[in-house]
């Protein structure tokens, strides 16, 4: 996570010069890389193909790789299962993820801006507290966090998934790093023009934070969408489950029906894969820049 370190090392990207490798070596390199590609992709392809097989074909030993008869039966079964109101679960996941993204972006950029551009008493102490937060594993604070939610009567609500994580220490740190490089002249000019401090944040600073906000936003979205442990603790009512919770529940109900459980896995994976395809550059660059995890 040491952002600057990596940012520094990757910003000085010297133009890559293609060195001449012997054809045989080149062939070998591509062979290894393609093998890696296969290992990465085959499990995805395998579950996708499994979800497209009829139930009778699943139990066959040895199994078929490609379906002998292609069918959407498994998806049809899930879509028509009255115990699986899919739209509800997609909504739950999307509501929690989008809320957390918006709130995190706001609090991170605001606090990050203040830590980057203002001098005040207690600043180092407060920022030090933010840095300490980065070192605390979630499992360490989850028990007290749960007890707080009980007191606030937020157990078994979607808000219980949002409210404990409205301020993200890493987000504040990341924003502070970016805003530190932002020229003071622009801020001062706006100030001379009589702009209020919040207006400067909203009109001058925010519009220049496109890249870091996008990166932080995508990562918050993916982390929330895939989060399992906290929803597992907080949510008990079936209708309030998020997609990962739905998936383990569904699997526990249909253990041996791999056509169904793999189809359900595909349904959970699909949205995040679509997000990834669209934002792939941002995501990969974000990791390279920040080591975010």
């Amino acid at each position: 996570m040491s952002a600057v370190q990596l940012a520094a090392s990757s910003s000085q990207q010297t133009p890559h010069r293609q060195r001449s490798l012997r054809p045989l070596v080149r062939l070998l390199i591509y062979a290894i890389l393609l093998l890696g590609l296969a290992v990465t992709l085959v499990p995805f392809v395998w579950i996708l193909l499994t979800s497209l097989k009829p139930a009778s074909e699943i139990v066959r030993i040895p199994p078929t790789f490609f379906p002998e008869r292609w069918t959407l039966d498994s998806y049809r079964t899930i879509f028509t299962d009255p115990k699986v109101p899919l739209a509800r679960f997609y909504f739950n996941s999307a509501f929690v993820a989008v809320s957390r993204v918006l709130i995190t972006l706001f609090t991170s950029s605001l606090a990050g801006y203040i830590f980057a551009k203002y001098n005040f008493r207690g600043k180092n102490l407060l920022f030090g507290f933010i840095l300490v937060q980065l070192m605390i594993p979630f499992q360490v604070v989850m028990i007290p966090a749960y007890l707080i939610l009980v007191q606030l009567r937020l157990i078994d609500t979607l808000w219980g998934l949002i409210i404990p994580s409205m301020v993200d220490a890493f987000g504040i740190f990341l924003m502070r790093q970016f805003i530190s490089t932002f020229p003071n002249d622009l801020i001062d000019a706006a100030r001379i023009d009589g702009a209020g401090e919040f207006t400067i944040y909203r009109r001058v600073v925010m519009p220049n934070l496109g890249a870091p906000l996008a990166t932080l936003g995508i990562f918050t979205f993916m982390a929330t969408w895939n989060d399992y442990l906290w929803p597992l603790i907080v949510i008990t009512t079936h209708e309030r489950r998020t997609l990962p919770l739905l998936l383990t529940w569904y699997t526990s109900q249909h253990g041996q029906r791999y056509d169904l459980t793999m189809a359900a896995s595909i349904l959970v994976l699909l949205p995040i894969l679509i997000v990834y395809i669209f934002f792939q550059r941002w995501i990969v660059r974000g990791v390279a820049l920040t080591g975010m995890k």
Binding site: M1, A3, V4, Q5, L6, A8, S9, S10, S11, Q12, T14, I29, L33, L37, V39, T40, V42, P43, F44, W46, I61, L110, A111, I114, N119, F120, N124, L126, F127, L131, Q133, M135, P137, F138, Q139, V141, M142, I143, P144, Y146, V167, Q177, E197, N226, Y228, L229, L247, T248, T261, S265, L269, L273, Y276, Q280, V284, V287, A288, L289, G291, K293
Partner: protein, 330 residues
């Protein structure tokens, strides 16, 4: 993790200590007071409270007569929870097994991960720019996937009869293991087979992170250095060991730290794929904390175990700081 050092460097030139003008004061404190009040409740209080709980035999289902439900039937037991970690009780044994498993898991994940990502990053660096992006994007794909879906997917890949892996092993003419995830008597080099299966699935899911970080770091190595090495007659291997590896040292250290720390905190893949079995061979510390806190409601005991997890993270971080102090410049 190494942010502290960086922050200190980045914030070094402190300008005038004038403080804030009135309008700025309203803005700064108007924003920071709510944020830090919030953090007081959801960050500082939990940190303190987890320490407090670790000194009590606390369960939320019992009503204590003291403040915050402590005392009475949730008695103060001093270091009792920590003593119990070393006791020959079932709870103590499970705790020690889970710590051992977590350390074994983190150590093996680190080795396997580095053994894959470092060479792979060098190879990706050597292919044409246009396909490089494609390789990188696809290798990164598993890391964005839902851990639950990955665990369920790999559970099926490991299925003894129908699974992809065993059928592949049979296809190439070898004898596959009887069961990957459920056979307590299967070991490879003394490591339970189920643990190896979890490690493979986790590395598959996670290697993209380190790969991307290594590729970025490799791109940062000044080409003059490599060219100079070439003029001096360095070949591929000696270049790798004498130029690339030493220059990657800071990145390598960072990656090792992050990989260790995140491996300590892995939960989903254990919980969903093996449930800790067979015979607790894949029971992780995180699972032990979760189950005690939320299944058995033994929150004091779980709190003390989560402090052990914190200590593990802290030690790795401090070691990294310590090594980072030694200078590296190029």
């Amino acid at each position: 993790m190494s942010q502290v050092a960086i922050a200190r460097r980045a914030g070094a030139p402190r300008k005038e200590r004038t403080g804030l003008r009135p309008g700025q004061r309203v803005f700064v404190w108007g924003a920071l007071i709510p944020i830090f009040l919030y953090l007081g409740v959801f960050a500082l209080f939990p940190m303190i409270w987890v320490v407090v709980l670790s000194f009590f035999n606390y369960s939320p289902v019992r009503v204590g007569d003291g403040p915050f439900g402590l005392g009475g039937r949730n008695p103060f037991i001093g270091l009792g929870n920590f003593a119990a970690m070393f006791a020959e009780t079932q709870a103590g044994q499970l705790f020690r097994i889970s710590v051992k498993n977590t350390l074994l898991f983190a150590f093996l994940v680190l080795i396997v991960n580095l053994a894959i990502t470092l060479p792979l990053a060098v190879l990706v660096e050597n292919v044409h720019n246009r396909v490089k992006g494609l390789f990188r994007a696809i290798y990164f794909l598993p890391t964005v996937s839902s851990a639950v879906a990955v665990a369920i997917m790999w559970g099926y890949v490991y299925h003894p009869q129908q699974g992809l892996l065993n059928n592949f092993i049979k296809m190439i003419g070898l004898t596959p293991p009887k069961a990957w995830l459920t056979d307590p008597a299967a070991f490879v080099f003394g490591v339970p087979l189920a643990m190896i299966a979890v490690i493979i699935a986790y590395v598959w899911m996670d290697f993209g992170y380190n790969l991307v970080i290594f590729i970025a770091a490799l791109q940062g190595i000044p080409h003059e250095l490599r060219d100079a090495a070439h003029i001096d007659g360095a070949t591929g291997w000696s270049e790798f060991f004498h130029i690339t590896i030493p220059l990657l040292r800071p990145t390598l250290l960072l990656v090792c730290t992050l990989t260790m720390i995140s491996s300590f905190q892995v939960f989903v893949i254990f919980q969903v794929m093996t449930g800790g079995g067979p015979q607790n061979q894949t029971r992780s510390l995180t699972m032990e904390i979760y189950e005690n806190a939320f299944r058995y409601q033994a929150m004091g005991w779980a709190a003390s175990m989560s402090l052990v997890l914190f200590a593990m993270v802290l030690i790795v971080t401090l070691v990294q700081f310590r090594i980072l102090r030694t200078d590296w410049e190029y």
